[in-house]
Symmetry: C2
Subunit: 109 residues, 2 copies
DNA sequence: ACTATATGTAGGATTTTCCCTACATATCAA
DNA sequence: TTGATATGTAGGGAAAATCCTACATATAGT
């Protein structure tokens, strides 16, 4: 459930696709999700486990199937991690921070 | 330089730390960056290469050293990827989308 | 030219990830 | 109870990531 787990979970295209499916199509049982992949069902199940450990999905048991739903909250951590960088690429267009960076660099020149 | 490369690059704590150092302290030569890590200098060099391939850093040669600078633009892609999920976790507090998700789920009930 | 410095690359050992095929478990339906 | 369905887990093999120690290359300084 740490930020590290979240970054790791997002590193896999298959897992990002799982999140997308849950976002676009809502809660679904594991089997229905697995159908969409060019991969064995147990492998998809493993990916779901990684997502669950990262807190990105939650499961609810309904009869013999398990419904997975998106838990987007951990993505807030990614957003928070990202935000300090926004300033940087916004300013680069103006070129001001470029100048500042150059000056900073002169420290060891 | 694809989004996939960026996600992969961000999956490593060492590489995220490199980005943070460049953000907080500005342009630096490879050696000064490597000093901060509990890891061999060549390993840090490899991490820098991964970041460079992802477009997250750029290098400039100055004499015998290579200055690395942050290139935050690819992080915009991450931000874009993230944005569709914002709606989701914002709404969950109100509980409205929970209801909608439940309804969507009833499709196959 | 010669030595020291800054850095990337090669090659390899270890660990981790990814994906598969069995198999176990639980539930549903007759 | 019996058989089918839905799903997770075990075990293992192949591929990729990670990190290391040499080594090669280029520049700086004397």
């Amino acid at each position: 459930m740490t930020a590290d787990h979240v970054f790791t979970a997002l590193a896999s295209p298959a897992r990002r696709e799982l999140l997308r499916l849950l976002l676009d199509e809502g809660v679904q049982p594991a089997g229905r999700l697995a159908e969409r992949f060019d991969m064995s069902r147990p492998s998809v199940s493993e990916h779901l486990k990684v997502l669950k450990d990262a807190g990105l999905v939650a499961e609810t048991r309904r009869g013999r199937e398990r419904l997975y739903r998106l838990e987007a909250a951990p993505l807030m951590e990614i957003r928070d991690w990202l935000s300090p960088y926004e300033r940087f690429w916004r300013d680069r267009i103006g070129g001001l921070s470029d100048l500042l960076d150059e000056m900073e660099d002169e420290e060891d020149a």
